[in-house]
């Protein structure tokens, strides 16, 4: 469904991605784990068209996305929840959701009902400014906003960052639920254990290159992964 082929991306003068290959099939949850600065966010920003690869291609449902503009990529069905959530602070919760549905890929009323069912707190907070929400609520809003474009693929960048453990497990359960409804998920995480437990397959990225990939179970038991990312 989504394939990165030998993608090289520069972040300023630094070659942040050094020829990575990733493929994601329809209906999967795939996690991408790695340490700070390994190139995880660069990878998502390249898929979303914010950064353009210097070499290689990004292919989605058979179409070459390389060089397409970010809004064209959203229109094709890839939506991203970026690191740090990036809620529009001076728009209300409802307006943030409206912006998520900017391209009107689905029925607005139905989608709104769907995300309110996933996160009832957003309905209560609908008239509040996005900037006034707590971290966990902002994460819910960020995911809800991304779902408002009715994506086929959801890219999640560090959804657990800075959240209390109880909120992390809630967010992860919701990701699982969204996936069961047919949305393919690419999950970038530093919380490798939680990510691998949730996902079907995983990739390990190290200084801009994929060093390991396989089924999540295998990775959870891999000696190197256990040592470097699970702290065992």
């Amino acid at each position: 469904m989504l394939r990165l082929e030998r993608v090289h991306t520069f972040y300023g003068p630094i070659e942040a991605l050094r020829g990575i290959d990733i493929h994601i099939e329809r209906g999967e949850i795939v996690s991408l784990i790695g340490s700070n600065g390994a190139g995880k966010s660069t990878c998502l920003m390249t898929i979303s068209g914010i950064l353009h690869p210097a070499g290689g291609r990004v292919v989605f449902k058979g179409d070459d996305l390389t060089g397409a503009s970010p809004h064209a990529i959203v229109r094709m069905g890839i939506s991203q929840v970026p690191e740090g959530r990036r809620i529009f602070p001076k728009l209300t919760v409802f307006e943030n959701l409206e912006m998520g549905a900017f391209l009107r890929r689905g029925n607005f009323g139905e989608l709104l009902e769907y995300v309110y069912r996933l996160f009832p707190v957003l309905k209560e907070r609908a008239r509040q400014y996005g900037g006034t929400l707590s971290g966990g609520e902002q994460q819910m809003l960020a995911i809800a906003r991304a779902l408002m474009s009715r994506p086929d693929v959801l890219l999640l960048d560090e959804p657990s960052l800075g959240l209390a453990p109880i909120m992390v497990s809630r967010i992860f359960r919701t990701i699982e639920e969204i996936n069961k409804e047919g949305v393919t998920v690419l999950l970038v995480e530093q919380n490798a254990r939680a990510a691998l437990k949730l996902s079907h397959r995983g990739y390990v990225i190290e200084s801009g290159a994929i060093s390991l990939h396989g089924n999540s179970d295998e990775l959870l038991h891999n000696e190197k992964v256990r040592h470097a990312y699970l702290g065992e």
Binding site: S48, G49, V74, Q80, R86, F88, L91, E98
Partner: protein, 300 residues
């Protein structure tokens, strides 16, 4: 006397507010001071004179003055908006990733170009605006509000109300606010940033066009350099209210007009043009974020 100066100040201030909105909206989105904005206003004033002269010649103004003015405003708005749109595409868009000084220099270049272009095609002397309203007006408490003053204040207020409704209610208006808050995130939800920037330039230029026509009618004459001082004063108004803030620009414009009107009559009219800059200096020293602006937060 006081009431008279307040009316005069309001008239001038609502024009400053209209121009200031163009500065503040563009700044809100691109963090660029569009120094060519005053010239758009000047172009509006010129086209207003040309069109009203034409309508007088063909007899439309004696048939219906209201229709002539509405037609003039509409055509001027279309003309100036297409200028604003084109300037952004030619002079700013190619420099979007350049250091911040480059688009600023480009803006000054466009400003000089437009002034000289108008001077060459329209001549360096003042052009006189047709006197269409005679002396009509109303008087109360020994204060005189001319028909034109009333119309300027009413039109400016109506335009600002429409703008406010547009920005707070419509999908495109919300997209403009979203882009001003976080450009990258706005593109990640599928907003076409280039389109929003173009719409912002079109709206800002349209507002300046309306201001241009109205001021030309008010003062009765235009020349190729009126954009400079009006531009600088409107910019001051935008900074006074808090640059990037739409209500700030409206408030700042009206406040500046009042200060100028009152200062000219109670302190000295010789220094009429200096008040704006005195205010600018005071604001930059004491409250650089402006009266309604927020101190910019450190982005993480």
């Amino acid at each position: 006397m006081l009431l008279q100066q307040i009316i005069n100040g309001l008239t001038l201030g609502s024009v400053y507010a209209l121009i200031a909105l163009g500065y503040t909206m563009v700044y809100g989105i691109l963090e660029l001071i569009n120094f060519a904005h005053g010239e758009i206003y000047m172009l509006g004033a010129y086209l207003g004179i040309i069109l009203l002269g034409f309508f007088t010649a063909i007899g439309l103004t004696s048939y219906s003055l209201t229709l002539s003015i509405i037609l003039t405003l509409v055509l001027t708005v279309i003309f100036c908006s297409s200028y604003g749109f084109t300037i952004e595409k030619i002079a700013y868009k190619p420099l979007r990733k350049a250091p911040r000084l480059s688009p600023l220099i480009s803006a000054i270049g466009v400003s000089i170009f437009l002034q000289n272009y108008v001077m060459l095609t329209q001549g360096a002397t003042d052009k006189v605006f047709p006197q269409l309203f005679g002396d009509r007006g109303i008087e109360f408490f020994s204060t005189r509000v001319s028909f034109l003053q009333g119309a300027i204040i009413a039109v400016a207020a109506a335009v600002m109300l429409v703008l406010h409704a547009f920005v707070s209610r419509t999908r495109m208006g919300k997209a403009i606010r979203a882009v001003a808050q976080d450009k990258t995130m706005a593109s990640l939800v599928g907003i076409n940033i280039d389109m929003v920037i173009s719409v912002t330039f079109i709206i800002g230029s349209g507002l300046a066009a309306i201001a241009g026509v109205m001021v030309a009618m008010y003062y009765g004459l235009v020349n190729y350099f009126i954009g400079y001082s009006a531009g600088i004063k409107a910019f001051t108004a935008a900074v006074l209210g808090g640059i990037g803030s739409i209500p700030g620009a409206m408030f700042g414009g009206i406040l500046l007009g009042l200060i100028e009107g009152l200062g000219a009559s109670y302190i000295s009219s010789e220094y009429k043009d200096a008040y704006a800059f005195i205010i600018l200096i005071i604001i930059l020293l004491l409250k650089p974020e402006g009266l309604l602006g927020k101190a910019s937060e450190e982005k993480i």
